[in-house]
Symmetry: C2
Subunit: 305 residues, 2 copies
């Protein structure tokens, strides 16, 4: 989005306010979905709150809420579905950070869950978050049972053997420095893309989008997932722990686009993904495309600095 | 069940044949729910098959199938819902056996998943099984969306903060040798009972049971869960690894009914639980109460030897 006229500037300010307001709603809802840290067993709920409520950009929920709204869905259920994506994301981070996986100590600028608590608590916390995510979908208010069951099915697909878990398995085995760019993109599509796909497609289900709109939105989330994972790889390689707000350098020895092409080409590729995502967004003809572009710009701002 | 007349003897043989036939259907369905071990990522599917398809008594699925049938449900979906309970059970065993939890090497007479594969694969395998369980519920054929969503909700409840995961958290923290019997029973109700409750209540949902029947069935599964966990504690204390077909002696230092009351009183209590379960079963007025009694007798046979 270019800022070249008072009209656009005020749109930017409106978008910023809308994003901030929705982020506040998401954070408030996340805080009520998980029992209080006084509820027995307290340690389980403390750990869930530690992992889930730590400051984050809530990118996946924002996508879900704004896509649902732009496609014509007005209900509060979009907030809940967005929270589901955030819960599964938090669960996946807990597991990725375990000693037997990436062995990371810092996440979102705080100790990872197994460091702040212990390994068994971390594993049960991740399991509880995934489990609760399905529970939230089953109880979405003012959404008919057919749609709720479609969302359960979508989530199970996104997490399973063709999504997050498969991506994580492949990532742990990723030591093939000769992997091609398309192989790496396939891995990134699973590891990161699957949950972006869920967030966006779930919004389309809520809104009852047409087949054409769903197809454009799939293209949108696909390129967004690729962009996001590549940005993550850039952070892992070029930033310090403090700048990235997490333990970096875990990708050393892994096949990444950055390792394969160097940073300049990787940043160019990243810009290409974002352009593709924005083109697909235009094709989806949402009523709030500008706001969604602002959501994207906020997320990818660091590559412009 | 007493064997004192030719009529009852032939019923026993019929029951035995029915249990064997249904076990075969369950095993066959479990084998198709998880992708083949050639499907990418192969290691994830090999590990799921290792954990899920190892020989087991399939007690939870048998309960689900026979209760559903006895309450008047004729569809194949009961097999699938039973498999869901078995998948979640297998997932919980994988996690319980991890080095950071019970640190067990043997389960169902074969190496535990983290020994046969590795820790990260074991954790992702357990997560995948839980996730797939929800996916199976979302796609039950010939079951309307309202019931499918009720089953998703039931499963999430059984696994979550008032079920399996809470029970496992509490069990890991269980070092209070002064715990009372009622406190231990509460823990056992969560750790083991929750999945029995799911198996039986899900069957009642499929069958559209009356409130009265559901209430009796809840009482049935509650006492069954208590009986089963106490039997497990007896095995852990009195049997060798080979007899129990798993690593035993993990309960040493934990508060169990066996440790609190001694083995004679514990076995008496176990018989009491089974009697209560069978009384509740009679009250549920299923059409196949005798067969279910045989399912129970097969499961608890060792306490009669």
């Amino acid at each position: 989005m270019t800022v070249n006229a008072p009209h656009n500037l005020s749109t930017d300010i409106d978008d910023f306010a809308a994003i901030k307001a929705v982020t506040g709603l998401i954070d408030a809802r996340l805080a009520t979905i998980i029992p209080s840290s006084q509820t027995w067993p307290a340690r389980l709920h403390e750990a869930q709150r530690h992992a889930l409520l730590s400051p984050g950009k809530r990118f996946r929920p924002l996508l879900c809420v704004f896509v649902a709204k732009g496609a014509g869905f007005e209900g509060d259920a979009a907030i809940d579905v967005g929270c589901v994506a955030e819960m599964v994301h938090a669960a996946s981070l807990i597991l990725d950070d375990l000693p037997c996986m990436d062995d990371a100590e810092l996440r979102r600028n705080q100790p990872t869950t197994h460091i702040a608590f212990d390994e068994s608590t971390a594993i049960l916390t991740a399991t509880a978050l995934l489990n609760r995510a399905f529970g939230v979908l089953s109880r979405l208010s003012h959404v008919d049972a057919e749609k709720r069951i479609e969302l359960v099915d979508l989530l199970s697909y996104a997490v399973g053997s063709k999504g997050l878990i498969a991506g994580q398995m492949a990532d742990l085995a990723n030591t093939d420095a000769n992997a091609s760019i398309s192989e790496i993109e396939r891995l990134n599509t699973l590891k990161t893309g699957a949950l972006f796909d869920f967030s966006v497609e779930a919004a389309a289900v809520l809104a009852g989008s047409s087949a054409g709109q769903r197809s454009a939105l799939k293209d949108f989330s696909h390129h967004l997932g690729l962009a996001f994972q590549l940005m993550d790889d850039v952070k892992d390689t070029l930033m310090s722990d403090t700048e990235a707000e997490k333990t970096v350098g875990r990708d050393i020895g892994k096949a990444t686009i950055l390792a394969l092409t160097g940073s300049e080409a990787a940043l160019e590729r990243l810009s290409g993904y974002i352009i593709n995502a924005k083109e697909a967004l235009t094709r989806a003809e949402l009523s709030n495309g500008d706001t969604l572009n602002s959501v994207l710009d906020a997320q990818f701002s660091f590559i412009r600095t």
